[in-house]
C-alpha cells in the first residue's frame, strides 16, 4: 500500500527516515483545542504571550479537526458533549494524539455527578494526562513535551499509519 510497507524492518534507511519524520512531526504539532471550561482559559493562556507554546512548535492552532493532530481536551465533558467529542476525534486524521488536560477530563475531577463523564479515557484513547484543576500553563507545556517524546518513539509499524 504505502512506502512504509516496503521499508519494513529496522534497517538503516528506515530508522533514519523514521527519525526525520518524527522530528518533523513532533516539532510542528498542530493542536486542536477542545476547550470547554476553566482549563480552556489556562490553555488560552498557554497559547498567549507569557507561556508561549509556539516556542515548541505548536503554534498553528487549528480549530478544524481535519487539519490538526493533537487534540487537547480541556475542561469537563458532560453527557451532551461526549458525542461531539467522539465525532471530533473521529474526524481527525491519523496520526493523532490526545492530551487530557485537567482533572475533569482525566477522571471527572471535583464533580462526581449524573451528567459528567468520569474521564474521557473511558470513551476515547488518551495519551497524556495532565493533573491539576486547572493545571498551570507550565504543566500543559510539560504535557506537550511528553507528547513530543511519544512522537519521537514512533516507528512505521507501530500502528499509526497514514504517514
Amino acid at each position: 500500500m504505502g512506502l512504509e510497507n516496503l521499508l519494513s524492518g529496522e534497517g538503516f534507511l528506515t530508522t533514519t527516515v523514521n527519525s526525520i519524520v518524527n522530528w518533523g512531526r513532533k516539532n510542528a504539532l498542530w493542536p486542536m483545542p477542545f476547550g470547554t471550561a476553566c482549563c480552556a482559559i489556562e490553555m488560552m493562556a498557554t497559547f498567549s504571550g507569557r507561556y508561549d507554546i509556539s516556542r515548541f512548535g505548536a503554534e498553528v492552532v487549528r480549530f478544524s479537526p481535519r487539519q490538526a493532530d493533537l487534540l487537547i481536551v480541556s475542561g469537563r465533558i458532560s453527557l451532551k458533549m461526549m458525542p461531539v467529542l467522539q465525532k471530533i476525534y473521529r474526524q481527525m486524521p491519523e496520526p493523532k494524539w490526545v492530551i487530557s488536560m485537567g482533572a475533569c477530563a482525566s477522571c471527572g475531577g471535583v464533580f462526581d455527578t449524573y451528567t459528567l463523564i468520569q474521564g474521557v479515557d473511558q470513551f476515547i484513547p488518551v495519551d497524556v494526562y495532565v493533573p491539576g484543576c486547572p493545571p498551570r500553563p507550565e504543566s500543559l507545556l510539560d504535557a506537550v513535551f511528553e507528547v513530543q517524546k511519544l512522537v519521537g518513539e514512533e516507528t512505521f509499524d507501530s500502528g499509526k499509519h497514514g504517514s
Binding site: 477542545f34 470547554t36 471550561a37 476553566c38 480552556a40 482559559i41 489556562e42 488560552m44 493562556a45 498567549s48 504571550g49 507569557r50 480549530f63 475542561g75 469537563r76 458532560s78 453527557l79 451532551k80 458533549m81 461531539v84 471530533i88 471535583v110 464533580f111 455527578t113 449524573y114 451528567t115 459528567l116 484543576c133 486547572p134 498551570r136
Partner: protein, 439 residues
Amino acid sequence: MTPSPASSEGRDTPVPQVRTLEKELEKGWRDHRAGVSSSAAMKLVEESGDGRLVMNFGPQHPATHGTLRSIFTLEGETITEADVEIGFLHTGFEKLGENMTYQQWVTVSDRMNYLSAINNNVGYSVAVEELLGIDVPPRCASLRVIMSELSRIADHILCVGLQGMDLGAFSVMLWAFEKRELVYDIIEAVCGARLTTSWTRVGGIMRDVPEFFPDLVYSFLDEFPPLVEEIHMMLLNNKIFVDRVKEIGIVSKENARSWGLSGPIARASGLDVDVRRDTPYLGYDQYNFKVPVQTEGDSFSRYMQRMEEIEQSLEIIRQAMATLPGGPVVHDDFKTSLPAKDAVHNDMESLIHHFKLVMLGHGIRPKPGSSIYSATEAPCGELGYFINSDGSDTAYRLRVRPPSLYNYAIFPRVVEGGMLSDAVAVLSSFHIIAGELDR
C-alpha cells in the same frame, strides 16, 4: 408525570426539532454517498424552493465562547430563524449543593464563571452570610471588594480581547492576555491559585493578604491603565471594527427589562441596574463610583460599556486601598468560622470548635426552613443565589441564578434578521460564559 413534548403552540413557525433533523441530515449524507439522490438537506432546499439552509454553529467552534450551539436557518447570508441549544457543560452544581456542606461548595462556585472566580466565591459567601445573619469584619469586606474588582477587570478585558479576536483584531487578544497575567499574579499571591481560587469562606476569607499586597496592587494600578488607552486606539480608529459592531445586535431598553438582562449588556441598552449601587453589600455604598450607562444597545455600546466599567473598577480599587482598615479577616463566631490554626493546635476549645465545623453532620446549620435570595454584581450581570435550608449542614436547595442564562435567552431574537457574520459579533459582545450558563 409525563413531560409535555416540545410544543409549537403559540408560535408562527414550528420549533425546529433539533435532533431529528440531525439524524435526517446524517441519513441524507449517507444516502448521498451511496448515490441515492434526495437527502434531507436537499429536500429542505427543494421544498422551500428558495435556497434556505439549516446550518449548525456547533458546540465546537472557535467563535462560540464556550460550548454554545446555534442552529441558524439561512437564506443566503441572512438568518431567518435562530435557535440555540445549551447544556453542553451542565455539571449539576445545584445538585452538588444539596450534597456538600456550605463551606465545601465554595470550591464548586468558582468553576461557574471561570474568568472571574472570585466574584462567584464572594457572591456565594455573601449569600450564606446573609442566610445566617452574620457580618464580616471591615477589613474582610474591603479585601473582598478589591479582589472582586480586580477579577472584574480581568473578565472585562478578556471579553474585549475576545471580541477583538473574533472580528480579526488578534493583537488585542494577546495584549489583553498579557495584562491579565498581572491580575493573575496578584490573585496567585493572595489566594494561592490563578484561576480556581476558592478564596472566601463563610464569615470571612481564607487568610489575610501578604505584606507586599499594597505594592502588588499599586504597581498593577500603574501598569494597567495604559492598556485601556491602547485598546481604544487600536479599535476605535479601525473602521472595520467600528463598522462591524455599530448598530449590530441592538437590544432595546424595553426588551432588556422584560427579558431580565443585567450587567453590562443591560446597562449598554440604557437599563440602569447595578446591584452594587442598588442594594449595596460589602460596604460598596462607601465608595464613590459611577455606573456608566449607554443608550444605543448595540455591540459597540457594549464594548464601550465594558471599557468604562474597567475604569470605574480601577477607581474603586484605588479608594478601597486608600481606606483599607486593619483588623481580623474572619467573623469571630466559632459557630461559623474556623479558628486560627495555631489556636487549634494548642487550645482545647478551639480544637472542639474546629472539629464541630469540619465534621460532617455538624458544621454550619442555618435556621430550618429559612431561605434567602441574595444577589451580587458579577462581571456578567446579576449573580443570584437562592439558598433554602432545612437545618442540616448541607443546603436543601441551592439555586444559582446565572446572569448568562437570562442574557443568552434573548440572543436568538437579536440575531434573527441579521447576517451570519453579525451573529459572531453579537455573540462575542454578549460574553456568555458557558460554565455559568449551564452550571
